[in-house]
Symmetry: C2
Subunit: 148 residues, 2 copies
DNA sequence: GTCGCTGCAAAGTATTTGCATAGCC
DNA sequence: GGCTATGCAAATACTTTGCAGCGAC
């Protein structure tokens, strides 16, 4: 559960991160950040617009996209692309991976850590500067595999 | 290098897979399969259309999409989604992972195996029927990290 | 001959861009 | 006050759908 105290503490956190980047602290950004934290699950840009619009009615989709990209850079959200349907934005801070159902398209969390060290090391050895990794497991979900 | 003999052998392979699925063996499918194998790297649907069109001028984009999806089901290609830009289709049969540059958007191969067993096991434990997994490492590529 | 596959055109969805204004620092 | 961020509208990029005709089996 997210309390008002938590919100304020997290506001301060993002604000600091934004300023450190030379960015500005706007109500759009703070409200999107809260919406993301309170949802606590991957959401599309449209979903976030809907939720955040309740608090800031004129919020626009381009702003949502721009803000999400900024947050990604700040490490506040992770972009999760599946290949069918829109990109998802995941605010969960704990390391976890995703499962994508090939039939119904649902994306589900897998609460498991994966040793991606070898892959990150390989990237570094190839001269790149990796800053994150994510695993996507695919197949049929619980429900879809039952009514094949 | 791909010889004419290889092509014929691989044609037979896909043909068998297609028939086993109850699908038909069409020139579009065979030519797309060859184009994929000969490229031997991830390509977009448009790129494949361009390459394959040289041999089959009336080939259409909807057919390319449909065929790639079919091939994915047959295990001939892997869908690689990055979240910016179009989906890539990867024909490389050897297990490998990908690196995506956040700045220039390039997707590069990492020739490394990852132990995804734990994640696949977690998916199965949650009741799903996983059939594959892929790791995406992100960051700045070789070139982009140099001219920051 | 049947039924799945294809091509064409069109629609649909997701995301980005251009530009004038608002508002943080 | 300067310069970034926003909102609006429009454009673009990618992918899917509908349907009539062709061709594999």
């Amino acid at each position: 559960m997210t309390s008002a105290t938590d919100s304020r503490a997290h506001d301060a956190e993002v604000s600091a991160a934004l300023r450190a980047r030379g960015g500005r602290v706007t109500s759009q950004r703070l409200i999107l950040h809260r919406a993301l934290r309170e949802l606590d699950r991957h959401a599309t840009a449209e979903e976030l617009l809907r939720v955040a619009s309740e608090r800031l009615p004129n919020l626009s989709l381009p702003t949502v996209y721009a803000t999400l990209e900024l947050f990604e850079e700040l490490g506040v959200v992770r972009r999760v692309a599946v290949g069918s349907g829109p990109v998802l934005w995941d605010p969960r801070p704990e390391p976890h991976q995703h499962f994508a159902c090939r039939r119904c398209g649902r994306i589900l969390d897998l609460d498991v850590r994966v040793r991606a060290g070898a892959a990150i090391e390989a990237a570094r050895a190839a001269g790149h500067a990796p800053d994150g990794a994510q695993l996507l497991v695919m197949g049929l979900c619980d429900a879809c595999s039952r009514d094949t």
